[in-house]
Structure formats: C-alpha cells, structure tokens
Amino acid sequence: MGQEKAEFLKGTLDMLILKIVAAGPIHGYAISHRIQQISRDFFQIPQGSLYPALHRLEERGWLTAEWKDTETGREAKFYKLTRMGRKQLETEVLNWEQLTNAVSLILRTVE
C-alpha cells in the first residue's frame, strides 16, 4: 500500500473495522479479508495495523471478544460490537458523511 493510502487509512480504520464487525461476530483474519474484498482491493490492511487497532477498540469498550470454534474446527478470537461501539460507529459514520459531503460540495462548486 502506498504512503498516501496508509495515511488515509489511519483516520478511518477504526470506523471500517467497527462497520465490518457490526455485521456479526468475526475474527481478525476475516476482517482484513472482508475489507479488502469489499473495497475491491483498495484497502489492504497490514496485520501490524489491524491487531493493535482491534486491541485498542477492545480496550475502549467498543468491541468485545470471545474465543469460539471456526467452521474448520479451530479456535479463533471473534470480535463483536458492543452497544457503546454501535454508538461510536454511528457518530463516526455521521461525521464521515458530513465530511465527504462538504468535500464534494467544494470540489463541485469551484470548477
């Protein structure tokens, strides 16, 4: 991932993770996989960013984790959104939408 993309990711990673986890309990590998998939390979999240971010979100009480068996029978750490996490996600999404709206307004008008 290029330097610019990494910078861009920094501010939105938490929101993306929360969004993905909001769909249901999911483990770390699957999260990175889903983000990459949905963004059509635009975001490729290095493990070095993903796991500290997950632990940080857990520490803040936005995520909780549980050890469960995967479909292949292996035990993995599944993350789940807490009520506080849901609220946080809502705020971040709202902020994000306001931001993108504002940016696109400017981009359109100044032509």
């Binding site: 483990h27 770390g28 590998y29 990175s32 290095p46 493990q47 070095g48 960013s49 796991y51 500290p52 997950l54 632990h55 940080r56 857990e58 520490e59 050890w67 292996r74 035990e75 993995a76 750490k77």
Partner: protein, 877 residues
C-alpha cells in the same frame, strides 16, 4: 473486573495474543495453498507479509491499560536503583522530609486536641465558665460564686440554655486503720445530663438523690476506680465511709468525664439546707451558652445581674467589676501554655519549611549534576514525556519513603509528647492522638515539594540546547539561573533556622533566668502537704489548735525532723489577698496585702531570715495574740522610712479570714526578708503573717523540714496525723522542691525542649543544605579550580574564593532572619521571662553559631577542591 483479572493472568493474555496471530498466519497460508501455491511458498509469502511479529505484538500490548502499570513499575524500580546508588542524597532527602512531616503532625495534633477538641462532652464548643474580674486590678479575678449568685444567674439570664455548678471538698475515705484522701465535688442536679456523657458503669446521680432525706450516694471517677480500687465492679452498690458519712457508690463515670478534677461526685443542691444560706461556699459554674449568643453579650448580660447582686452582698464584690464569659477550655489550659502551643506551631511550621527547602535544594543540586545524563538520554531519543515519567517515579520513591518515615515520626512524636507533657497544662479530659487531617496536610506539602522540584531536570533537559549542555559540563560557571534559585532557597533556610535558633536561645535564657531567681526561701529538705480538716469539728481557732498543737509536737519527734510549721498556703505562693489599713496613714488608692496564717516555726522551716524585731512565739500562737510579722516589701511600700514595729495594721479584706473576727487590728512585731510570694515570675507583693489560731479554717497545710530526704518521711507523717485524729487524712504530700518544679519549671522546661529540638533539627538541615550547595558548585568548578591552581593560585586563595561564595548567601540569610525575628519578637515576648526579646547576647550567639557552622559546611568541600591535582582536573572530562 475483567480488566483487573488480566493483571494476574498475564501469561494467559500473552498466550491468547500469540494464538490469535498464529491463527491469522495459518489462515493466510491455507488461503494461499487453496489458491494453488505450493505449501512452502505459501508459508514464505505469508510470513513475509506478516512482517515483524514482535513489533506489533508490542503495539497490541501498548493498547492495553495494564501496559502503563508495567512501565510505572519499571520506572519505579529504576528510580529506586538510582536512589540506592546515590544513597546519601536519598537518605538526607527522606530524613528531611520525614522530620518536617513528623514534627509538624505531632505538634499540630497536640494543639488540636488540647485547644480545639479537648472534651468528650456534648456540644462542648458552647460550654463556658464565668469569671468576676476586678477592673481596678487587672490580675485579679474570682472564678467561683455562692450558690445564691449561681441561682440568680440561672434565673435571670436569658443567654444560657442551662448551667451547672460544683463545690470542691476534701473527702476522707476511712478504710480500716488508715485514711485515704479523695477529691470530692458536690454537684447541682442535672449536671450529668448537661454534659451528655453516659456512665461507664451503674448510673449517674438522679433527681431523687437530691431530695431531702434521700440516701447519700456518689459516683466515682474512672481513673480513681481503676488505680485506687483495682477496677473492682463489685464495689458498685457498696457503702463507703466518706467524711464519716456512709455513702453508696452508684456509678463509675465515663473515662473522660473529669469535671472539677474530682475523684467523686456527690449530690448537693439548692434543696439542701446546709447549702442555701452558706455565703462562704464558693461554687464553680459551667454553662451552655445559646448558639446565637456571643461571649461578650453573655458577659454584659451577667454583669448587669451581678451589679444587682453586689447591692445585696457588697462584701463579695470589688468597686468596679465585670463578669467575663470564657470558653470552657480556657479554664483548664493556662493562657501561657496556650500561647506556648501557638509558638510551637509556628516553630514547627518553620521546620516543615526548612525540611521542604532542603529537599528542594537537594533535588535541584542533583538535577544539575544530571544535566549531562539527561542531555545524553534525550539525544539518544528518549521523549520528554518518558524523562518526566522517570523523574516522577523517582520523586514518588522519595515521597513514599519520606511519607512512611514521617508517619512513623509523627506517631513517635505524639507518643513522646503525651508522655512528657507537664501536668496542669492540658485538660485532664484531653486525649492526644494523631490527627489525620493534619498528617494529610503535612504529607501533601512534603510530597508536592518533592514532585515540583523533582521535575526540574525534565524541564531543563527539554529546554536547554543539547549541544550546549553536553559541551558545558565541567567547564565551570553554568546554570546561573538555577544556581540563583538554589541560593535563594538556602538563604531562606538560613533565615528560618535563625528564627528557630533565636527562639530556642531566648527560651533557654529565660529558663536559666527562672532558675536563678532568688526565692528568698529554701525549698530543699522540706515536705509539704495539705491537711484538710472536717469543718464541723474544727470551726474555731481553738479547735484548730487542739489538732495542730499536738500534731506539731508529734511530727517534731520523727527522726531527722528539725522544724515543723502549720500554714495556710504553700510557697512560692503567699496567703490570701485583701485590703489593709495602716494606723496613722491615709492614702487615696486601696492598699492590699497577702495574709498568711501560720504557726511560729514557719520562718525557720523555710529559712526566711528575720530582718528586724521578732517572730511570734508558741505562747502567742496558743493565746491567739493579734500580732503580725510583715515582709520588707510591705514595710517599704506602706511605712516608707517609718519604723513599723509597734504600729498597727487592720485587715479589712472580707476574704482575709475564713471566719469573721471582731477586732481586725494587729500589732507589727517583726520584719522578715522578702521571699517570692506570687510565683517565681511575678514581683513580690506586700505580705503579712499572723498566728493561725486567730480564725478557723478548713484549708490547712503543714511544712516539715528534715535533714533526710523528705520523701522518706511521708509514711511517718501520715501515721502521726492518724494518731492525732483518725478522721483526718493528708493530701498531696510532696517534697517542696518537687512541688515547685511541677508548678514553675516543668512548663518552661517542656517549651525549651520542644523549641530546642526543633532548632537543633533545623540547624542540622541547614548545615546539610549549605554543604550540598557548596559541594555541588565546587564539583562543577573542578576544571576551573584546576586551571587556577595550574596557573599558580595558592590553596588558600581557592578556599577563600569558595568561602566567599558561601558567606554571601549565609550573610544574606542571617540578615533576613534577624529582621524577621525582630519583627516576630512580640509573639515570643509573652513566652519568655527575665530576658528581652531583643536580647543582644542571644542574637549575637546565634549569628556567630550560624556563621561558624555555615563556614564549616563550606570549608569541607572547599578543602576537597584544593586537593585536586591540577593535571587530573584539566584532563577531567
């Protein structure tokens, strides 16, 4: 909870982190394999993508809160190691801190308990006592009233919720063939409800106990029951023979109920026919003032009532008077001691300041020597935050050590002071215990000092230019700004310790002056005791003589006894004060004199020399002759140059004679030398002595001069008293010099000790402070000194240079301290006696002492500096 659990499940947390990451890796490999890569290649690629596992494992750990705890523990360990390396610094800093915290907590605890929370009584803040003050004679007042007065006060005033009164009486408890003297208190109804303290055992006195014809009962003091009666609860309900009356013990008072200092409390109220008309029984009054009323208002109100009473009982009142209402605690803590407590508080506050100043200085000096260390660490990439955190940890370690040791000192201090505090200085109800709030305050002050000054190096390191400080080290000069702060702190310390030393010096001079007071009489080898007599049987002078004359003869037969005398008061206090007239002399103002009732050998027992005329004889005493011996002050003041012998003196004072006498004129037969009669510190008053047989009185005492140790004859004296009259017991048998010591020297000695110890500690701390500052600055100037010596400077020059530098701030400190202590002298003046608060000798001695100690503290590091080999110093770096 889960978060806490993680603390002791660290291995589990680590394992989970591992397996989470491993799962990710394996999943990746599996995905690669399923997309067609050979397993080896898949593993290689996945691992490569995964990158340095350890690095982001650390990042994951950092996201967790317990990580901070780990770092703090690490920092703390590092700090303790650092301090252990600099043991002397750590030891002195912790000790200075602990001394400040400990001493101030101990003293403030005493002040709080003695002055602000001395009682366990209900709503004790509103308890007051009354005093009738003579406006013409500022030193004289009476704090006791007749029951008639008490009832008028109770009835007429609107400002008290309630009031109670107690009448002191000596009780003789007869057990078998010996007597025990107990301090009794007759008390008015309702007094136990008034104080609101439950009895320890049994019951209080009840209204029925006051009814005429009720069975006599009493309540005993806890300490008396414990010490004299072995805490035997079976005594409850048993009859005691007290002053030949059988009284039943109905209750033991609560441990801290000590009203009137009595051993026992007995009912006696207005209903009692023995009491109501007796105008010679004086009761102490304690009242609870209404919460919205000031002491002044209450006093004014009572003064009006007293003015009406003075019309009814003109003899009991001086011409101009006012009733004073004082807080209860004022009645028990002598004013001089109260002020002394405030002086101690101020002194200990100074000590706390010196302690903190010292710690600050040590930390600043240490910071300066570590400038280079911090510069290096900061150059190697330590963030400012990390440096601050580490310094905080160090401060925390110091503060913790200081606080723990300080708490110990405080505890030990409170214990020690409680053990050595003189008698009659604090209320007997008072229990001194360590005060939590005060301890907290001292801890906060001490700890804040450590943290504020401990952080200086961090600020320094982040502010100053790295290259600068790396280059600068060892090149002398340097850090003038901080040097200035250090010098200011040490200057302040010198000033504060000077104040302490001056105070201690004045206390010492005052104490010495007190010990050198010419008493005018000899207290050694004299046994004194009070011999209270049953009033009913010893009313008249003849009746008194029928007891004392045989007793005096019997006492003289005890081996070793030289002289025996009977007297109404014990030296160095003399007699009852009242108005006098001298025949043929007219005067505008009132004339007063002390009057002592005594037997013929009084002057021989106390070795008071006769100056003129003669003393009265045994026959004159037996014959109740109206003769009087006066002291030189009386002669000087009222006779001037005239010869008093053969002249007549009239004693008009109502209080002079406990029992009315018809003819109040007495003939002067002799003059004795002046002896102290108002304590050691007050000037001598005119005093007179007459044969004790001229009037009756229950308040009597004996003085016995022996060639042996007076303490050894106590038993023999008690036996002779018993043999003379088995219903009489003596009270408070003490060697006279011991009595004098308790009442006169104990308190100043206590003050001297306290202030002396503080001054000593202060001086030690300041010495260390001066030393550390000079040692530090010479260490920094090693290079410069080496250069100077290489260029030919003599050792003396170097020493002089260092001394000059030290002398500058010591002199400034001394000047500041002198100015401050001169300003404060008014506060100390009330605590010292016989020496001026501006005493030049004390001031000079203190200045000399501080200068010498200060110079010594400078000289040691200065000398060390000169021992440096110039070559080493120049190469040093």
């Amino acid at each position: 909870m889960r978060r806490l659990r993680r603390l002791w499940q660290k291995p589990l947390v680590e394992r989970q982190l591992d397996s989470e990451l491993k799962f990710h890796l394996e999943k990746q490999i599996a995905d690669y394999v399923s997309s067609g890569l050979p397993p080896e290649e898949a593993r290689r690629r996945a691992s490569l993508e995964f990158g340095g596992v350890e690095r982001f494992k650390e990042e994951c750990r950092e996201a967790r809160w317990e990580h901070h705890l780990d770092i703090i523990v690490q920092d703390f360990r590092f700090a303790v190691r650092g301090l252990a390396k600099d043991r002397r610094f750590a030891f002195i800093a912790i000790l200075a801190l602990a001394l400040g915290i400990g001493a101030s907590t101990a003293i403030f605890s005493v002040v709080y308990n003695a002055l602000f929370q001395p009682f366990v009584y209900k709503d004790s803040a509103h308890l007051v006592v009354l005093r009738l003050r003579d406006l013409d004679q500022p030193d004289y007042w009476r704090g006791v009233f007749t029951l008639g007065e008490f009832q008028e006060f109770q009835k007429q005033n609107q400002l008290f919720d309630s009031a109670v009164a107690n009448l002191q009486d000596d009780m003789v408890y007869a057990v078998g063939d010996s007597n025990m003297e107990l301090a009794g208190n007759y008390v008015t109804p309702g007094c136990f409800e008034f104080y609101g303290v439950a009895p320890f055992l049994g019951r209080w006195l009840e209204p029925a106990d006051y009814q005429p014809g009720a069975a006599p009962v009493f309540v005993m003091r806890y300490a008396t029951w414990f010490e004299k009666f072995g805490a035997d609860s079976a005594l409850l309900g048993k009859p005691f023979s007290l002053n030949a009356v059988s009284r039943t013990l109905v209750g033991i008072a609560a441990p801290r109920f000590v009203w009137g200092g009595a051993d026992l409390w007995m009912p006696r109220g207005p209903e009692d026919p023995k009491v109501i008309r007796n105008e010679r029984q004086f009761w102490g009054i304690v009242a609870r003032i209404k919460s919205n009323v000031s002491l002044q208002e209450a006093g004014a109100n009572l003064t009006v009532i007293a003015q009406q009473l003075s019309a009814i009982y003109p003899n009991q009142y001086p011409k101009r008077f006012a009733v004073e209402v004082l807080p209860f605690v004022y009645a028990v803590v002598p004013p001089r001691f109260r002020e002394a407590l405030y002086v101690f508080s101020a002194a200990v506050g100074l000590l706390l300041l010196i302690g903190c100043g010292n710690v600050a200085n040590l930390l600043l000096a240490r910071a300066a020597t570590r400038e280079r260390e911090f510069a290096v660490r900061s150059a190697l990439g330590a963030s400012r935050f990390r440096l601050i955190r580490q310094l905080l940890a160090e401060s925390f370690a110091l503060a913790l050590g200081g606080a723990l040791l300080g708490i110990f000192f405080a505890w030990a201090g409170v214990k020690t002071i409680t053990a050595v505090i003189p008698h009659f200085t604090i209320a007997s109800e008072t229990v001194i215990e360590m005060n939590g709030a005060v301890l907290l305050f001292a801890l906060v002050v001490g700890i804040c000092t450590v943290f504020i000054f401990g952080l200086v190096p961090a600020l320094q390191a982040s502010r100053c230019d790295l290259n600068e400080s790396l280059r600068e080290t060892g090149k002398g000069g340097g850090g003038t700004g901080r040097g200035g702060l250090r010098n200011a702190v040490i200057m302040l310390e010198v000033a504060l310790s000077l104040i302490l030393l001056v105070t201690a010096g004045l206390f010492m001079r005052s104490f010495i002056a007190l010990q050198h007071v010419r008493l005018g009489l000899r207290t050694d080898h004299v046994l004194s005791a009070r011999v209270p007599l049953p009033v009913e049987r010893y009313k008249s002078g003849d009746q008194l003589n029928s007891f004392f004359r045989p007793l005096l003869t019997r006492l003289k037969s005890i081996p070793g006894v030289v002289y025996v005398a009977e007297s109404s008061t014990l030296p160095p206090y003399g007699g009852i004060r009242g108005e006098v007239e001298v025949s043929g002399k007219s005067h505008q103002e009132k004339w007063y004199s002390l009057l002592q009732l005594c037997s013929e050998d009084y002057f021989s027992v106390l070795r008071i020399p006769l100056v003129e005329g003669r003393n009265f004889t045994e026959d004159e005493v037996n014959d109740k002759r109206q003769v009087v011996v006066i002291n030189q002050t009386f002669q000087r003041r009222y006779f001037g140059k005239d010869n008093p012998i053969g002249q007549k003196i009239q004693f008009n004072g109502e209080q002079h004679f406990p029992q009315e006498i018809k003819d109040k004129w007495f003939e002067v037969i002799g003059i004795v030398a002046d002896a102290r009669n108002r304590g050691l510190q007050e000037p001598i008053d005119p005093e007179t002595w007459v044969p004790y047989t001229v009037t009756g009185s229950a308040m009597r005492g004996i003085l016995v001069r022996t060639t042996n140790n007076p303490a050894t004859i106590v038993k023999a004296v008690a036996k002779e008293i018993w043999a003379t009259d088995p219903s009489v017991a003596m009270a408070e048998p003490y060697p006279l010099d011991q009595f004098l010591d308790v009442f006169t020297f104990a308190q100043p000695r206590f003050g001297l000790w306290i202030v002396g110890i503080f001054a000593g500690i202060g001086l030690a701390l300041v010495t260390i402070g001066v030393y550390s500052v000079i040692a530090y600055s010479t260490a920094r100037r090693t290079h410069e000194i080496g250069l100077r010596m290489a260029l030919g400077a003599a050792k003396d020059d170097v020493i002089k240079m260092v001394l000059r530098q030290g002398l500058r701030f010591i002199a400034a400190g001394i000047a500041t301290g002198l100015a401050a202590s001169l300003g404060l002298s008014r506060i100390i003046a009330g605590q010292i006696w016989g020496v001026s608060a501006y005493d030049p000798l004390t001031l000079a001695a203190v200045v000399a002492l501080l200068t010498i100690i200060g110079m010594l503290a400078c000289w040691v590091p200065a000398r060390r500096a000169t021992r440096i080999d110039p070559m080493t110093a120049l190469r040093y770096e």
